[in-house]
């Protein structure tokens, strides 16, 4: 390798144009390195950068100085210091995040994701793996196959990486012992087969000493396979395979500079497209034909997977961000219920039933996940029963979206089967997932169109339908005020119905308890019932603690715009506890009542309720009057 880098240097010096031409045609390999803490990942990457001459003299000088100051290799160069970027990590001596490194050889350009081995940072490894063509699984030769090795191999396989390298590192520390190496490889082979990994390439290396990295090691004459670098340079890429699949392009943005031009911009996920091709737009199913593939450098005769383009249609059909343009005769599926594998990445565990954002391709929809069918124990690969998924847990779940989305199974198309889950309140990315298939029940249940519309129901009653959603602590006065509001409305000939928390729990929801998950389901059901009643033209009043913002916003989204009124009955905890009409606070304080809102379960007050009632400043009667007045102001 050093020799070939000198040849490269000679070419650069003698014929820069020839070099540029060669470099221009290089392909790109993205790979990840993964292993346990102290397996030597950073050292290995530092070594690859060093051996491919990606380290400049000034960096080398700084590296030598740093090595002596904080290095762990005595007076030798500590390659890990090249890679461990953030100051906090440098002090701890471990890599804690995904870092991307770049180097090139004569044959290829490489982007390497350095991914952490520390247990709580599994999400970072999945992140790095999601864009990788190849994974290098590092093993410390002294330790053999560890729990982390299994976990990382399973994850790489789950994410769909086909090229796996098993790098048995630190061979220098076991005296380059072939027998030990063979037994580690045999151990790994057994494990790999058990999870469906068909192929992997094992190699004995030492990142620290440079054995079998860029040149064959004299210390291991018994090893006849390729060096790590030679393998990385020649392994076959699967990026071209995407071009062989049917054409799919998720629409990112509609380009409309003037009335004469309408183009659909996106990154082609798979296949090939040419002017004249018949296409279908999903979810609508409308068809048209491609007239132009527009780029700034002129129209293209064809475009392939991996290119960002702008397409024009022959017909003015509806098409916007989130739609997927496909081959007319080979469209993708459209569904709203799925089975998927989910890797949980949030600090807060999965709450079954809670509405989250789901982003798949360019589609963003509301989705709810059910309790996992099972969780995968990545050490034993056993399926374990689970009620939720905690940070770094992997499980199989069914999920439902609030409207049908265009998709393909992840195994067929990563771009249309991979998704992220986003918390609606914090906006954090809390999970990644891979769709397996659509559930049959989603395909067979259709909406029945009704002739008497919801508007007609309300008009017959001479009113506008509305949902008054009371929220507040236990004992805040929700039921009392709601009752007064209903009486006032009844006197005004309004058709109303009051759904009360305690009453509903005696019937419809008597199977539910007070865990977070049950509270979410409780509110979902009440929301659906309120929606049916609003459809019937009623003014619905609900009185539930409904402590979580996410669920209240879920109910809000179920209703027609302008129909939902969040009413915050705002009573401070100390006041509600002093009143303690039902004696519940006393029980909760005594530890006899678990998951009690305000005591050992949180209440998230509304940020911007339509109506805010401060019960410390008015009577229940005054509060009811204020609410009715507000409704009349809205024409209810």
């Amino acid at each position: 390798m050093r020799d070939s880098s000198y040849q490269t240097e000679a070419l650069i010096a003698q014929d820069i144009d020839a070099y540029l031409l060669q470099h221009q045609h290089k392909s790109l390999l993205r790979f990840i390195t993964c292993g346990s803490v102290d397996d030597g990942k950073s050292t290995l990457i530092g070594r690859l950068l060093y051996d491919s001459k990606m380290i400049f003299e000034d960096q080398l000088a700084a590296l030598e100085a740093d090595s002596k100051r904080v290095g762990t290799q005595g007076q030798n160069i500590d390659f890990a210091l090249l890679v461990d970027g953030l100051a906090a990590e440098r002090e701890q001596g471990i890599t804690i995040d995904v870092a991307y490194r770049f180097f090139a050889t004569e044959k290829r350009k490489f982007i390497v994701a350095d991914t952490p081995g520390h247990e709580q940072y599994t999400r970072n490894m999945v992140t790095g793996a999601s864009t990788a063509d190849l994974a290098v699984i590092l093993i410390d030769a002294r330790k053999g196959v560890l729990t982390q090795t299994r976990r990382h191999s399973y994850l790489a396989h789950l994410i769909g990486i086909k090229n796996l390298v098993l790098a048995v590192n630190k061979m220098d520390l076991i005296a380059y012992d072939q027998e030990k190496y063979d037994s580690i490889v045999a151990d790994y082979r057994k494990f790999a087969a058990s999870i469906g990994i068909e192929n992997f390439t094992p190699m004995p290396i030492s990142g620290f000493m440079g054995d079998n990295i860029t040149s064959h090691s004299a210390n291991m004459a018994w090893y006849a396979g390729p060096t790590l670098m030679a393998h990385l340079e020649t392994v076959e890429l699967d990026v071209s395979a995407d071009q062989l699949k049917p054409f799919r392009m998720p629409v990112q943005w509609v380009n409309r500079p003037n009335l004469d031009f309408r183009g659909f911009s996106g990154l082609i996920a798979s296949g090939v497209v040419r002017p004249g091709d018949a296409v279908r737009v999903l979810a609508s199913g409308k068809t048209s034909a491609i007239t132009r593939i527009v780029t700034q450098a002129g129209d293209l005769p064809e475009a392939v997977a991996g290119q960002s383009v702008t397409l024009c249609f022959a017909d003015e059909i509806d098409c916007s961000r989130g739609d997927v343009i496909t081959e007319a005769d080979a469209p993708v599926q459209v569904a709203d219920q799925f089975e998927a594998t989910v890797v949980w990445m949030g600090e807060e565990a999965l709450l079954p039933g809670r509405p989250y954002w789901l982003k798949l391709g360019t589609q963003t929809v509301t989705a709810t996940l059910q309790a996992p069918k099972y969780q995968v124990n990545v050490n034993t690969l056993e399926h374990m029963a689970a009620k939720t998924l905690e940070l770094n847990a992997i499980g199989v779940v069914t999920l439902a979206t609030d409207r049908p989305i265009a998709f393909e199974p992840y195994a067929q198309n990563h771009a249309l089967g991979g998704f992220i889950v986003i918390d609606k309140i914090t906006n954090a990315t809390i999970a990644a997932g891979m769709l397996h298939f659509a559930l049959r029940r989603a395909q067979n249940v259709h909406w029945q169109a009704l002739d008497i519309t919801r508007e007609m129901h309300a008009t017959l009653k001479n009113q506008k339908a509305a949902v008054l959603w009371f929220t507040g602590l236990s004992g805040a006065g929700k039921s009392t005020i709601a009752n007064l509001v209903e009486k006032k409305l009844a006197r005004m000939n309004r058709h109303t119905f009051l759904l009360d928390g305690d009453n509903i729990r005696h019937g419809l929801n008597k199977d539910l308890g007070f865990t977070d998950a049950d509270r979410v389901e409780n509110i979902r059901r009440v929301g659906e019932v309120a929606k049916l009643m609003a459809d019937a033209g009623l003014i619905v009043i609900t009185a539930f603690i409904s402590p979580f913002r996410a669920e209240r916003s879920m109910v809000r989204e179920m209703m027609a715009p302008g129909e939902f009124f969040e009413v915050h009955i705002d009573t401070p905890l100390i006041e509600a506890e002093t009143r303690d009409v039902k004696g519940l606070y006393k029980k909760a304080r005594a530890g006899n009542l678990k998951n009690f809102t305000g005591i050992d379960s949180p209440y998230e007050p509304p940020a911007a309720p339509e109506i805010h009632i401060d019960t410390t400043r008015m009577s229940a009667e005054q509060a009811a009057a204020q609410i009715v007045e507000a409704l009349l102001g809205e024409g209810i």
Binding site: I12, D17, H23, S240, P246
Partner: protein
């Protein structure tokens, strides 16, 4: 279509690494425009900005890029940079916003008297003020992961708190090419569409696509003085010569451009792009060495980023 698939299966078209990087950059820009309320492109007139602007024009063609260019000016850039800036704004048909920190202006902050304060007030503070003033919620920046260690770990969509701070321990995972652009009130995003490009990629792309760049990147005879181990160009009469310093004509060029009194030149005869690339490949010092900002301590860039420097 099935015929097409068969024809192609004979020979899939391998995209080169530059084609893949270009497609990625365009994809990122379109995601931002589709999801952000008020995006802006930070334009610093350097070669990375040149590539970023070029990608933006491709991404939205035939529309002009649907966001303005923002130049956070220090008043101390090279003359040739101001000329290039105005020319590119004209040619792209984009609105150019120039922001100068009024406090730095009033106090006469300059690189000769104020050292680190100069960068801090004109650039770091100036950037924060400009973003606040116009209410931009997403700003494109031309940072690359190969430039510096803390940048290697930064996401492509990088969130800033209401006071513009970066929290490296609390970054969102970025999977596949799915970017979560949802932000809480007051938060803003810095987006780096050329994160995965190296210095060589940038130069090669400029070469292949014929992208206009500031002539200072090419060697020419220019008036210079040597000071504290750096070759500085005397770009205008504000340059304060020390006793005994006499500007000398040297054939120089710049590998990176910033405030002229803070930007070191290299002696060179590279007058064409291939020659510049050749020199870069054979050289043994890394790119940012010419900028004074990184030198203080190894973790200085990370610290600056946390404080709001781009």
């Amino acid at each position: 279509m099935s015929q097409t698939a068969t024809a192609i299966s004979a020979q899939p078209r391998a995209l080169t690494h530059l084609q893949r990087l270009e497609a990625e950059g365009i994809h990122i820009m379109r995601e931002v425009v589709a999801q952000a309320e008020k995006p802006v492109m930070l334009y610093s007139v350097g070669k990375d900005s040149a590539v970023m602007l070029h990608l933006a024009r491709k991404a939205f063609y035939p529309s002009p890029p649907p966001f303005p260019l923002l130049h956070v000016d220090t008043t101390w850039k090279f003359k040739a940079m101001y000329e290039m800036r105005d020319r590119m704004a004209r040619e792209s048909g984009m609105e150019l916003l120039v922001y100068q920190n009024p406090e730095a202006k009033a106090r006469g902050i300059n690189p000769f008297d104020h050292g680190g304060l100069h960068t801090d007030m004109w650039k770091t503070e100036g950037l924060k003020q400009a973003l606040d003033k116009y209410g931009f919620d997403a700003a494109f920046g031309g940072a690359r992961r190969d430039e510096e260690k803390s940048r290697a770990k930064e996401r492509i969509f990088s969130f800033r708190s209401a006071n513009h701070r970066w929290d490296p321990k609390n970054q969102r995972p970025e999977l596949w090419n799915l970017y979560n652009a949802r932000k809480s009130k007051g938060e803003s995003i810095r987006v780096f569409p050329i994160s995965n490009w190296t210095e060589l990629d940038i130069w090669q792309y400029i070469h292949l696509e014929n992208i206009p760049i500031v002539p200072l990147y090419f060697a020419a005879k220019r008036p210079t003085v040597e000071r504290d181990g750096m070759l500085l160009m005397v770009d205008d009469e504000r340059f304060r010569l020390r006793d005994g310093e006499v500007p000398e004509q040297r054939s120089i060029r710049f590998r990176t451009l910033g405030c002229y009194p803070l930007t070191g030149a290299v002696e060179s005869t590279a007058g064409t792009l291939p020659e510049v690339i050749q020199e870069m490949l054979l050289t043994t010092t890394s790119e940012r060495q010419g900028r004074a900002i990184d030198h203080d301590q190894a973790a200085s860039m990370e610290k600056k980023k946390q404080e709001g420097y781009f």
